[in-house]
């Protein structure tokens, strides 16, 4: 079940569009936040409130890479490995995350503290390598800097 606040939020989003269907992507974000990931219940909740068949909601959501299609760690590390980041050492950082934090690309560490998602370009090429942790940008990454950053997330 969605919280009262989430329902209000989705209704407010709905009002910004001429059709309920257009509110689907933002509503999925809300549901994902509420349920932690896009569980069947999350889809059902969105489907109910917007009147969109749930299979459709799921089909739409799975098209997009940034939705959480399975349960994730408490924090999501989204590291870019596209060309600009790659040529400035992003791959080594992937290895580092693996060795230092037991974080495999697409995986979650044993404590459920972090999940690692390999990203296509995140628009920080001028300050490569770069990553997002949840919604925060971190740029000009080095191994040491990563340790420092991740220390802040519990």
């Amino acid at each position: 079940m969605l919280s009262e606040a989430a329902i209000k939020e989705i209704e407010a989003i709905r009002a910004k569009y001429p059709t309920a269907r257009a509110a689907l992507l933002p509503a999925i974000y809300v549901a994902q936040r509420e349920f932690g990931w896009l569980s069947p219940e999350a889809y059902e909740a969105v489907s109910d409130i917007l009147g969109i068949p749930k299979a459709i909601a799921r089909g739409v959501a799975t098209f997009y890479a940034m939705y959480r299609h399975r349960p994730m760690g408490r924090n999501v590390v989204q590291l870019c490995t596209n060309v600009s980041c790659m040529i400035l050492g992003a791959e080594k950082l992937v290895d580092f995350l693996k060795n230092r934090y037991s974080l495999e690309p697409g995986g979650t560490d044993p404590d459920g503290r972090f999940s690692l998602v390999i990203m296509e370009c995140i628009g920080a090429c001028g300050t490569a390598p770069a990553m997002l942790v949840n919604e925060d940008f971190y740029e000009n990454l080095t191994e040491k800097y990563i340790e420092e950053i991740l220390g802040k997330y519990k």
Binding site: Y43, G51, P53, K54, I56, R58, G59, T62, F63
Partner: protein, 861 residues
Amino acid sequence: MITVNINGKDIKLEKAVTVLEAARSAGIKIPTLCYHEQLEKYGGCRLCLVEVEKMPRLQTACTLISADGMVIRTETEQLAEVRRGILEFLLINHPLDCPYCDKAGECELQDLVEKYGTAKGRYMEKKRTVPESLEDPVIVRNMGRCIACTRCVRMCEGVQGASAIAVINRGGHSHIEPFSGGRYDCEYCGNCVSVCPVGAIMSRLHRHSYRPWQVKENIETVCPYCGVGCTVILQVRDDVIKRVVPRIGSVVNNGMLCSRGRFGYEFVGNRERLTSPLIKKNGVFEEATWEEAISLVANRLKEARDGYGGAAVAGIASPRCTNEDNFIFQKFMRVVLGTNNIDSSARTGYAGAQSFIENISGQGATANIIAGLSNSDVVLVTGGDPTTVNPILGLQIRSCAGKGGNILTVGHVRGLRHFNPAELRPALFTETLLLEGILHSLKNTKELPGSNPKFEAKIRELNISPEDIIKTCGVSEEDFNGFLKKLSGAANPAIVIGKELIQSIGSSYKLFLVLAINYLINGRVYLLSERANEQGLIDMGCTPDSLPGCRPVAYAEFRRRYETAWKTTIPDKPGLSIFEMMDSAGSGALKAMYIMGENPLFNLPESHASEAALKNLDFLVVQDIFLTETGKLADVVLPSLGWSEKEGTFTNMERRIQRLRKAVYRDGMEDWKILSEVAKNMGVKFNYADAEEIFNEISRVSPLHRDLTYNEIEKGNALYPYKGEPLRGVMEDIVSHKGDRLDAGDKLYLGLERPLFHSGTLSTKASALLHIYPEAVATISPSTAEKFSLKPGDKVRVTTGAGSLSLPVAVDDAVHGSLVMITNNFEGKGAFALIKYIADPVTKAPVIEGIEVHLEKDGTV
């Protein structure tokens, strides 16, 4: 008029169609995969790429709209190369399992590879594999074979409107899944199966049991399930129906089918089918020869007739039998047994409602073209969910919404909830008030057209204050006004009337209101029909008060016409209705009964009383394809040939007369043939060589069917009244009955669920439908579930003043909080056992509303 040039050939076009359509119209084939004539254009597979002069890039013929002077080439060296390349792409991840795949032989990919040649196998990597999904009992998905053409999804979402499957993921990982990822939670129309060009989505019913080329015969006939009368093609191998498919271009259903039509055919070959006549001796059935059984029936009927007169015998006809069967049935009753005691289960709603409507709005008022619904600008839906009762008609309503039409519903209609309906959900037992409110408000904005003064006088009598009404009904003023605005603004409206309205308290008055609304907005009426030949049996005269062609038996001049034709005399008084028959049987006035293809024990209220009544008869003969609960009470049971085993005609709710064809051979006799044999044994000669001869007689005697022949019918547009004469111009007084308004309180009431997957009990003999919907359940709302601490699957005892049933619980938030919904499809669990016979005095339809239900948890089942 434009001209395009394709491969050097000038093609003239009425309007600018796609290049593909232009080419096809000239017999030029362009390879396609994602294109499908029933679906929205897609342009994804790229096989139809063609060269167009003055266009630098290759163009997809399926999407490019032709323009005057366009010069197109569809077969060049370059294009062959391109198509080879595309097919290579399609094959790199496609399993090469044609020898194992059921689709082989009708696979569009296989055929194209055959034509354009395989590539040399340059793909060295491992193929992407997706395991076959056998989680669903009816549909098997083999996503390794999917070519992502999305035909299935475009069908499911865009045409069927079920939106139960979707493409998930993207790019090379795209494939098709129902919501659960495994089992479907859908309408099981199987239309996705129809359009899949490869072996990715297939029916499990015929899995590995035959190859397409082994089908020698494709027999075109009519679906046995509901009043829509869809065209179906039966694919038969060795007298077994292997598959049922629709035909694109057929008038009624144009390439579409519902679950019952597509997957419900297995009852034909069910092992429980009756094989030989049965005679009850000392309370047990023994198999008998036809001679023995028929002479017994003839003798006993003669005894009853001669001993007590024709009034002491009665017959029940069948909406699942053909026009020819039903015609002979009533002729047998009238001519051989001398009685008008003929009726059918149509009396439980359809027949009465139709006479009521026709009295006000004129003969044939409900005979409207189903496909026309989609062109309406407003469709008002009352009395339940058309998408489950008459699914293909339901599609037309969805399509109307898709074209921008407004769907208005009185009550919540589940099957339309995704089609932006304007809903008014009146509180329990306030539907009448709401309809009055709508009519009242319409009256204020619309002028009475003056064409039906008698009706208008009645309409003028209505006087209420709408403000209170809105409050009492519990609908918001905003919703009410919005609803009304759409309704009164309609230019081409239609009104759909379902059985929930006809079987409710004060149904004749509600019908009056709905018709008045319709009169004011000048709409068309669609009366939903649950059985395949419900209309036909009425037209054939299987009613106590009318002769074939809907000629009232009470009118001497009409009677005389038949008396002359049949060289007999027909009783001038209307006979007993089906309910009166039960009463008379119970009281002992009725002595013998002939029941053809009907299970009144199941389909009439108060099953217990019906049972006692039938047991009280001196003689009961039941003619059927299965040994039903009613059959078990009979003295003689006669097995008949069923749908797909005989020739004949059905008349659908549009009054379209269509040919039913024999597809499989089975030992035995048609219903009409058995009746003729009995007649012969009673000394009356019914000499018909085949169904066509009977039909020829029908078209001779019935003014509705005048001059109609099987040949005419073949052409597909045999619509009632066929060259007919207008019928009685006399309008009888408009009498309707309002009934008392119940106060809902916090009690629970019985509701009748009409599931999409079942129709009568016949569908429960089809294993696929049984897999989808396996048992009778009591469906309740989440709030009721909570109140009684029930969860899905728990057993409950549902008790009413008439009876009691123990059922598993299902929970559904579409169910009204005060209702307990029960289906009437499963033997031994019939909902009518819980219903006392209280009828609307005008339509005689039983009232299945306001029946209090007592619910308790049940550990005993």
